[in-house]
């Protein structure tokens, strides 16, 4: 079996562009609805999240499921009408409330009112997250800064080990992976109310670190094949290199995905969407390394070489990179 990556490159590019475009549309819609491209969790915008569960060792405490209407009424009385309420668990004994950022006094008033109406909650099963709005912005900006620094670091390293154009194209593949993951989470945010938290930024960074691996391995092979037979056309070289590393790309992605899928399906609630973000990102990363980074490199090198030949034919007319760049999207 031999994969014709170069010949069908317009197909691969169309698939990627379609997915990214859908994601961008979803981001646009959620920008209008929520004021942010992805549904932000309280990590970024600030707020208080209370997760409570009734203590069922107290007699009669868990007799009936929690009635969200009562909770709504309590919240209205406390002036927290805009909060969201969710009843959790199979027997409906858990409660999840999200409000604006509450001060410790406001929060304890709410907790007291809730346990008066609904019964005792088990402190061992309580989870409280409260983030001030300033700190939220700080978490977001430091996360984005980390993303930019790692992009710059990786570009510098790849320019050093390979060449500058390799590095730029690898970077385009990485941006592709980040956009695909963010786009799918924008869709999930609109459809299922999935939020992105600081772990999502961690996930994006991990995706960047991992997916650049795949790209580097393929570029490494392209360089090797090119050194062995420099007279072959770049298209053939890339096709060969991709096919020679294909088993490795698939196996590595598979072995990395196995624990992640297990965590997504069976793991704790905290890591569920973290694992999902990584799964999407790693699949996108493997795809972009095999089909995007390689074909982009072949396309770019071909243009440059043709430009060089044209240039020598047409008495030193410079190739114009600016034209090429504008054709790209």
């Amino acid at each position: 079996m031999k994969l014709q990556v170069i010949r069908q490159r317009s197909l691969w590019w169309t698939i990627s562009l379609t997915v990214i475009l859908m994601g961008l549309i979803a981001m646009g819609i959620s920008w209008q609805q929520l004021g942010a491209p992805l549904r932000p969790s309280l990590d970024f915008v600030g707020g208080t999240r209370l997760q409570l569960e009734r203590d069922c060792s107290v007699p009669e405490n868990c007799a009936a499921p929690i009635d969200p209407a009562i909770v709504r009424q309590i919240l209205d009385e406390q002036g927290l009408a805009t909060s969201s309420i969710q009843v959790l668990g199979e027997s409906q004994q858990g409660l999840l409330i999200r409000t604006a950022n509450l001060s410790p006094e406001e929060r304890s008033r709410l907790q007291t009112a809730l346990s008066e109406e609904l019964g005792t909650f088990d402190p061992q099963l309580t989870q409280i997250d409260s983030v001030g709005p300033t700190l939220g912005r700080q978490i977001l900006s430091s996360g984005l800064l980390a993303l930019i620094i790692s992009f710059a670091g990786i570009t510098a390293y790849l320019s050093l080990r390979f060449q500058f154009d390799y590095a730029v194209l690898a970077m385009i593949a990485l941006i592709h992976d980040v956009l695909v993951t963010a786009g799918i989470f924008a869709i999930l945010g609109l459809a299922l109310g999935v939020e992105v938290d600081s772990l999502f930024i961690v996930a994006l960074l991990t995706i960047v670190g991992f997916s650049v691996n795949d790209t580097v391995v393929i570029y490494d092979r392209i360089r090797e094949v090119y050194k062995a037979n420099p007279e072959r056309s770049i298209n053939d070289i890339v096709d060969d290199a991709v096919n020679q590393t294909l088993t490795r790309s698939i196996n590595t992605t598979l072995t990395t995905l196995l624990p992640l899928v297990a965590i997504f399906l069976l793991g704790g609630e905290t890591l569920k969407y973290f694992a999902l973000a990584l799964i999407i990102g790693f699949v996108a990363g493997a795809y972009s390394s095999i089909f995007i980074a390689s074909t982009l490199l072949a396309w770019w090198r071909e243009r440059v070489e043709r430009g060089a030949i044209d240039a020598s034919l047409e008495s030193r007319l410079e190739p114009e990179p600016s034209d090429i760049a504008s054709d790209e999207s």
């Binding site: 088990d122 402190p123 790849l158 961690v202 991992f210 691996n213 020679q244 072995t255």
Partner: protein, 470 residues
Amino acid sequence: MGRQRILLGVILALTLIAIGVIVKIPTPLGLDLRGGSQITLQAKPTEAVPEITPEKLQGVQTVVERRINGLGVSEAVVQTIGQDQLLVQLPGVSDPEQAERVLGGTAQLDFRSQKQGTERALNDLLLEREGLLSSREQLQNSSDTTMIATNETALQKTEQAIAVLFEKTGLTGDKLRDSYAEPTAANSWEVVLVFDEQGGTQFAEITKNLAGTGRGLGIFLDDSLLSAPTVPPQYAEAGITQGRASISGGFDTQEASDLAVQLRGGALPVPVEVVENRTVGATLGRDSIQSSIYAGVLGLVLVLIFMVVYYRLPGLVADIALMIYALLTLALFNLLGVTLTLPGMAGFILSIGMAVDANVLIFERTREELRTGKTLYRSVEAGFYRAFSSILDSNVTTIIACIALFWVGTGLVKGFALTLGLGVLVSMFTALTCSRTLLLYLISFPALRKPHWFCPNLSPTAKPQAEATS
């Protein structure tokens, strides 16, 4: 072959040491896994203090630490983050309301005068408090929470009883401009107080009334008595004037500077605000750790099975190398005191993915070499040699991402970056050294030198040559 043996011995020794370390040193678990409260406090500049200097933050930290001691939480940690924030970790606290209230309030320093006829009562109570404080010190590192709680209640009662013996004067900490320790005679130190103008006048008035009576001037911080110096009779006429006073009482350097810091800290006019609170109940933390660990382990077992099924003998070697990798990495975490959080665990599981990748790269390369008709030994050597540059490049890029995360990231993000980065470093060693040594050792046995155990469906033309030499 001698070098091979030595390496094999080194690997074995390292593995045994790693097991020893894992058994001996417990892995510190983050609050998200063991349950507890993590509170971030932000120091806020005011008009009087437009900038939070490291010294100011230090002062805030001292106050916060003292207040936490007052809460009676064992193993609490207070760290500064950046320019103006403090991170407070309170293990085992699942109702953080009291902690937040106590930590968030501004420290109240005030000066009170002792009521008449309470000298003896005060002496008794001070002795009682002394005893309770020393038993708190002993209990601090124990895990007996009921004893700690009982002691705290008794201590609070004593503090209240002491406070009853004093009268408020209206002179408070915001009128104290500075306080510092100063040596008087050999081995003796005193604490100097400097008031502003209004404070100076008030202070003179209070000391005038107390001078020579034998009653003390009560210096209270958050309603707890710090010190109750008496005022000598020579000040009976005008009190202690000029807004300066010193508390002497046979302090040594440490005691004097502690009191000065406490006074300064209490007088520090920077309010703090609780900007973040993350609390996880102990049971909830345990549940999430368990299900995530089970899931991760299940995934890894599938990976191990996959490696053997797909890569045969080298796959088995890789599995052994992976287990050694896991042991070494966990031991390294314990040695460095890396606190294991949920994202930290995710980082570790992902680093195992990286370690697998190195092996996959090598074995794919080995197979390619075998298919071109090289001998087994040469194929294995070439596999390791030629996969090296890919492994190096891919790991360096991951480490770059980790450094970026660790550098600018906060809290949980840092934990993730640290475990992933350390894991990748260790995996470079295990993939290149462990797998290689074990594999070369195994093919030194002729019985194991079967190319189809390395690459199934090898074309028959390549076979005879592959079996001919080694």
